[in-house]
C-alpha cells in the first residue's frame, strides 16, 4: 500500500477514535466542562497532562533543535521537565485544596482584588493564544507534507476535530481524548526511535543506545562518532555547547518556572478527586513526559549522524545529487531542504561548496564546503525516512504529530474559554448568570477561540516563534511568584502581589521587546555582548521572577498585612483534610 493511502487510514482511524470519545464524554454542567466533574483518576490525569503539555513543538521540533544544538539542547530537556517537580512540591496540592476552577480564581480570591484577577486573566489569555497559533500551524504542516492537502485545508480539518470534542465535552471530553492522544503520540515517537537504535547499535533502548558502540564501528560510541564528525565539518563539538553557562542557567530556570506557571498545566490538577491525587498525578505526568523527553536526545543524535552520513556519504566526500534518496526529493518540494545547484534560494557557503555543487555533489558542513540548506524542523518527520523504515511507521509518526498538536490546542482553548466565561463574565461582569447560561457562554467562547486560533494558524504572524519566549517569560515573571507567595507567605497582601506582578511583567516584556522587537524593529541588536549580565531574552523571565519576589516582599512589608479571613484561607489550604470537589464558591 502506498504511503499516502496508509497515512489517510491511520490518521482517519485516530480521528474517529477522538470523536467517538467526545460523544461518549459529553459535558452536562460547568463542573464537568471546567474540571471534568473532579473525578479523573490520577494516572489518567497524568497521561492527559502529558499530552496536554507535549505540543507540536515537543513532538516535531525539539529533537531537531537538539540535533543541531547538541549539549545546549539540555535547556529544553531539563527546563520542560524540572518544572513538574516545582508543580508537585510547591503548587499542585495547595491549589487543589483551594478547590476553584482557574488560576485567576486563585489570584483574585487570595489577593482579594478584581485588579489582580483581571491582570491574571489577560496574562492567561495572551499566553494561551500565542501557544495555540503554533499548534494549529503544526497540524497544517503535517497535513500538507503527508496528505498532500494544502496548509489551509489542514488547519480547517484540525479546527473541526478540536471543535467537536472541546465544545461538546469541555474538560471531560478533552481529558479522555488526551489519554488516547498520549497513547498515539508516544507510540509514534518510540517505535521509530527503537527501530533506529537497534539498526545503529543493536541496543533496544534508545536512552542507552546513543551512548552505545556503533555496530558498524565497534569501539566507537554514537556520541563519540558524532563529536568527531561534526568538529571535522566545522561545527561545535556535539557534547559541548556554544551558549555561555550563565545563559544556559537562566534559560533552563525560565523554562522550568514558566512550566510551573502555565495556566493550562495548572488547571489539570483541579480535575482529580483529592489533594493526595494531585501530588501523585504530577508524578505520573512526569513519568509519561520523561518517556518522550529521555528518548528525544537519542533521536536527535541518531538523526544528526544518519543525515550527515547520507548526504556526505560513507567516505565523507559528498554524494551525487542525481542519485539523491527519495526523502530529499520529498522535502525539497516543501522548500525545507535545498541544494545550491538546484535551488536558487540556497547559496553555497564558499568556493569549495560552489565547486562541489557544479560537479553535482551535495556536501553538508559548517565551513566553505557547504552547499546544502537543512531546516531543523524536519528532523523528527524525516528521521524514519532517512533510516529507511517501513511506510506504516511513517504514517504513525504523522498521526502522532497531529495528536500532539490537537491535544495541546484543546487544553489551551479550554483555558481561554474558561477565562472568558468564568473569570471575566461570571466572577466579574455578570455574576447573576445561572450555571446553564455560564455553560453556554463557555461553549460560545470555545467556538470563537477555535476560529481565532485557526485564523492565526492559516495567517501566522511573523513573530510566532518569538512570542514563545514571551509566553514562558510572562508565566515565570507573573503567575509563578504570585501563586508561590500566596501559598507560602500568609501576610503577603494585594499591594505586594500586584506591584510584584506589574514590575515582573513590565521588566520581562520590555527586555524581550527591546531585543526581539516582535511588533517593531528591535531597539538593540540581539547579540550576547548587548545582553544584561549575558542573559538572552529567552532566559530573562528568571530575572523578572526574582524582581517580582523582591518588589512584592518589600511593598508588603510597608503596607498592611492580608486580612484575617484571607490568612485563615491560606492556613486551610496547607493541609489536605476536608478537600471537596472543585466548586464555585
Amino acid at each position: 500500500m502506498d504511503l499516502q493511502t496508509l497515512t489517510y487510514i491511520v490518521v482517519g482511524a485516530t480521528f474517529a477514535l477522538y470523536i467517538g470519545i467526545a460523544i461518549w464524554a459529553k459535558a452536562g454542567s460547568t463542573n464537568e466542562f471546567y474540571v471534568a466533574g473532579g473525578g479523573v483518576h490520577p494516572v489518567a490525569n497524568g497521561m492527559a497532562t502529558a499530552a496536554d503539555w507535549m505540543s507540536a513543538a515537543s513532538f516535531l521540533s525539539m529533537a531537531g533543535l537538539i540535533a543541531f544544538m547538541g549539549y545546549d539542547g539540555a535547556v529544553y530537556l531539563m527546563g520542560w521537565t524540572g518544572g513538574y517537580v516545582l508543580l508537585a512540591l510547591c503548587l499542585a496540592p495547595y491549589l487543589r485544596k483551594f478547590g476553584k476552577f482557574t488560576v485567576p480564581d486563585f489570584i483574585g480570591d487570595r489577593y482579594y482584588s478584581q485588579t489582580a484577577r483581571t491582570v491574571a486573566v489577560i496574562c492567561a489569555i495572551f499566553v494561551c493564544f500565542t501557544y495555540v497559533a503554533g499548534q494549529m500551524r503544526g497540524v497544517g504542516v503535517v497535513f500538507s507534507r503527508f496528505l498532500e492537502v494544502d496548509v489551509t485545508m489542514g488547519v480547517i480539518i484540525g479546527m473541526v476535530v478540536v471543535f467537536f470534542y472541546a465544545v461538546l465535552g469541555g474538560m471531560k471530553g478533552i481529558t479522555y481524548t488526551q489519554v488516547a492522544q498520549y497513547v498515539v503520540l508516544i507510540t509514534a515517537y518510540l517505535v521509530p526511535a527503537v527501530f533506529i537504535s537497534i539498526m545503529l547499535t543493536g541496543n533496544v533502548l534508545p536512552q542507552l543506545g546513543f551512548g552505545s558502540d556503533l555496530l558498524a564501528e565497534p569501539g566507537t560510541s554514537v556520541l563519540a562518532k558524532l563529536d568527531g564528525l561534526v568538529t571535522e565539518l566545522g561545527f561545535n563539538e556535539y557534547t559541548d555547547g556554544s551558549k555561555s553557562t550563565v545563559d544556559v542557567f537562566f534559560i533552563t530556570a525560565a523554562l522550568m518556572v514558566g512550566t510551573a506557571g502555565l495556566p493550562h498545566v495548572i488547571v489539570r490538577f483541579f480535575t482529580v478527586p483529592k489533594v493526595s491525587d494531585a501530588r501523585i498525578s504530577a508524578g505520573w505526568a512526569l513519568v509519561f513526559i520523561a518517556l518522550l523527553y529521555t528518548t528525544a536526545p537519542a533521536v536527535a543524535s541518531f538523526a544528526r549522524l544518519n543525515m550527515i552520513d547520507t548526504i556526505n556519504g560513507p567516505a565523507g566526500q559528498g554524494t551525487a545529487y542525481a542519485e539523491r534518496p527519495q526523502w530529499i526529493r520529498n522535502w525539497e518540494k516543501t522548500g525545507l531542504i535545498g541544494f545550491s545547484a538546484a535551488d536558487e534560494a540556497v547559496s553555497a557557503k564558499g568556493p569549495a561548496g560552489e565547486q562541489l555543487a557544479q560537479d553535482g555533489v551535495m556536501f553538508y558542513s559548517n565551513d566553505e564546503r557547504n552547499n546544502m540548506k537543512i531546516d531543523r524542523d524536519i528532523m523528527v518527520l524525516a528521521n524514519p525516512e532517512i533510516a529507511g523504515l517501513p511506510n506504516w511507521v511513517i504514517a504513525l509518526v504523522a498521526a502522532g504529530g497531529i495528536a500532539a498538536a490537537l491535544s495541546t490546542s484543546a487544553g489551551l482553548l479550554l483555558v481561554i474559554s474558561t477565562s472568558i466565561s468564568h473569570d471575566l463574565l461570571k466572577r466579574n461582569l455578570m455574576p447573576n448568570i445561572t450555571d446553564r447560561q455560564e455553560l453556554t457562554y463557555a461553549r460560545i467562547a470555545a467556538a470563537v477561540a477555535i476560529c481565532i486560533a485557526g485564523y492565526l494558524g492559516i495567517n501566522p504572524p511573523g513573530f510566532v516563534a518569538q512570542v514563545v519566549a514571551f509566553a514562558f517569560g510572562l508565566a515565570a515573571s507573573s503567575f509563578f511568584p504570585a501563586i508561590i507567595m500566596g501559598i507560602f507567605s500568609k501576610r503577603m497582601n494585594k499591594e505586594g502581589a500586584i506591584a510584584g506582578m506589574v514590575v515582573g511583567i513590565t521588566f520581562t516584556a520590555g527586555y524581550i521587546l527591546a531585543y526581539k522587537g516582535v511588533f517593531f524593529e528591535p531597539l538593540i541588536a540581539n547579540t550576547p555582548e548587548n545582553w544584561l549580565f549575558g542573559i538572552s531574552p529567552e532566559g530573562i523571565g528568571t530575572l523578572g521572577m526574582l524582581l517580582n519576589f523582591i518588589v512584592a516582599f518589600t511593598v508588603s512589608r510597608v503596607t498592611a498585612e492580608a486580612p484575617t479571613e484571607v490568612q485563615d484561607m491560606v492556613e486551610s489550604i496547607r493541609f489536605p483534610k476536608g478537600s471537596g470537589a472543585a466548586t464555585h464558591h
Partner: protein
C-alpha cells in the same frame, strides 16, 4: 481546625517545608549543579559511552526529577497520617 492544637499545625507545616526544601536541594544539584555549573568537570568522567556531565544534562536529571516526586508523595502521605490530616 483540623489539627489538635496550634503547635501541631506549626509542627506539620515545618516538617512539610523541611521535606520540600531538602528535595528541592537535590533537584537543584542534579540539574543546575551536575548538568550546568559542573558540566565541564563531570565531562572528564566517562560512564557507559556518555560523558557524565552531558548525561546528567540530557538524561540523568530527568530520572532524578521523577524519583523526587514519588519520594515526596510517599513522605507526604505518611506525614498527613501522622498528624491525622489525610483525606478520607
Amino acid at each position: 481546625m483540623a489539627f489538635e492544637s496550634t503547635e501541631k499545625a506549626k509542627a506539620y507545616w515545618s516538617e512539610n517545608l523541611r521535606l520540600m526544601l531538602s528535595l528541592l536541594a537535590v533537584w537543584f544539584v542534579v540539574s543546575y549543579g551536575c548538568g550546568i555549573l559542573l558540566v565541564d568537570v563531570l565531562n572528564t568522567v566517562n560512564l557507559g559511552g556518555f560523558k557524565l556531565g552531558f548525561w546528567f544534562a540530557q538524561q540523568g536529571a530527568i530520572y532524578v526529577f521523577v524519583a523526587l516526586i514519588f519520594v515526596y508523595v510517599a513522605k507526604m502521605n505518611a506525614l498527613d497520617k501522622k498528624y491525622n490530616v489525610h483525606e478520607d
